[in-house]
Symmetry: C2
Subunit: 276 residues, 2 copies
């Protein structure tokens, strides 16, 4: 593992590191914020999965999360959103290929050799992080924005007991029912829709739900509402009597200004679960 940069931030350290990834077959870069408390003891950790076009860096510099993470004594992990590099397949569209891994293991050409973001964020990167940094494996939570909200919700529901809480900002809620999903799942997973079901937060909510609290914020003026399908997940949460809140925030759009505006409340939500 290579240290790209380390900056003092809010009493802790905002680091950026790269490593050779077996899952993705390329070098991967991630951000990690460690609060001051990590100098003495392992600290709880909040995963932040990013959205389309993002790298590890966007949320790290624009979401304003470190302030609240420092206050709560919680670490933040910012993984990249796809494999990258000259030898990695790509597409001219912003919502397929590099920057758009959708947190699945691709089985189809030309994506299968590298696009294994599910294994990367659920197996390889956790193993690396918990061996290399003072993080408390039994105190994890997860959040994300847009495509990363989709990732956070599907990962959280697929590993019962691993995460104390899950939240999302404007998540892709029902990818099997919209063009942010059908297009990518066809490309990455093939045409058999049965293989898509494990990567759709609404379907997972209908089938099993999450064994902890959920917090979802959605901007009412989001330019991508038709692609996100929040109503599908909101209904599924209510039908299941899922513990949690789905909040429609008047006037907010899909940007990081929206994410930053509600970051304090999300960090507070996770901190309560992590220290319970």
């Amino acid at each position: 593992m290579k240290t790209i940069s380390e900056n003092r931030a809010f009493g802790g350290v905002q680091g950026v590191y790269s490593h050779a990834s077996d899952a993705c077959g390329c070098d991967m870069t991630f951000g990690l914020f460690l609060p001051q408390e990590a100098e003495r003891d392992p600290v709880p950790v909040l995963w932040y999965l990013s959205g389309l076009t993002c790298t590890h860096e966007n949320a790290m510099v624009k979401a304003g999360a470190q302030n609240w993470a420092a206050e709560a004594g919680v670490a933040l992990v910012f993984p990249d959103t796809s494999p990258r590099g000259a030898g990695v397949a790509n597409d001219a569209a912003f919502d397929l290929g590099q920057g758009a891994g959708f947190y699945v293991n691709a089985t189809e050409a030309p994506w299968a050799p590298h696009f294994r973001m599910w294994d990367y964020v659920t197996e390889e990167l956790p193993r690396l992080l918990f061996s290399a940094f003072p993080l408390a494996q039994e105190r994890q939570a997860i959040t994300g924005h847009s495509m990363g909200g989709h990732g956070a919700l599907t990962v959280a529901m697929s590993f019962p007991g691993r995460f104390r809480s899950v939240s999302a900002f404007a998540p892709i809620c029902h990818p099997t029912g919209s063009d942010w999903g059908r297009k990518q799942f066809t490309a990455y997973l093939g045409p058999d829709e049965a293989k898509w079901a494990g990567h759709d937060a609404t379907l997972l909510m209908r089938r099993r739900g999450f064994d902890g609290p959920i917090l979802i914020d959605q901007g009412a003026s989001d330019q991508f509402l038709d692609l996100l399908r929040p109503e599908a997940l909101s209904e599924a949460m209510a039908v299941r009597r899922q513990e949690g809140s789905f909040r429609m925030q008047k006037g907010y759009d899909h940007s990081y200004f929206f994410v930053a505006s509600f970051m304090e409340e999300h960090l507070g939500f996770h901190a309560r679960a992590l220290y319970d």
Copy 2:
């Protein structure tokens, strides 16, 4: 004036606007955050002047200031750092030309026709802002980072009574005594050092000081300490018995992580002065 974008943020609006600038002879872009309170009444305003290589956008998305501005009911203005465009002179170095206006009115070729950032931030942009937006002209404060800290300090000391308070993050403190200053002042203002004195915070502090409180934060691990010359200004402040604080922050560097880490305290400092 043209609206480039408006995003709901922290209950207010983060806008980006452009306009034809007489001072700079080109179109100029700025960011303006208006807190929710501006929907009803004029609000106090904090100017944020940015550093080398920055546009209006960097601090707007990376400094985390809107959260605290919203809490305090204070507007934020983010001007650009130089004139820009194909017809505007430039230099290959990152610290001269576009992105490096140094908040002076250039008198020398090839800079004189456009590089009039002093007039822009002290006359033209204020006139535009106070006519177009609900801002309280009698409640202004100013801050900045690096080259923008230099701008904030020199502007504040040059217009007694205009600003209630001034702060800076890692400001260029003594440009006539370092290569972040001598090089640019020679290019923009010519070799006569007498013309430089009005743009050196340390010299202005020795000569007249500021008629209000000053807050300066400087990272002790800043990679540019030798160019910033904080010791010169710190000494001058102490000699003058200037009301204010000069704080050396252990472990912090020159990045926006440093700026963001202390933004809450700077907003609080200015809010106290603005509502006094």
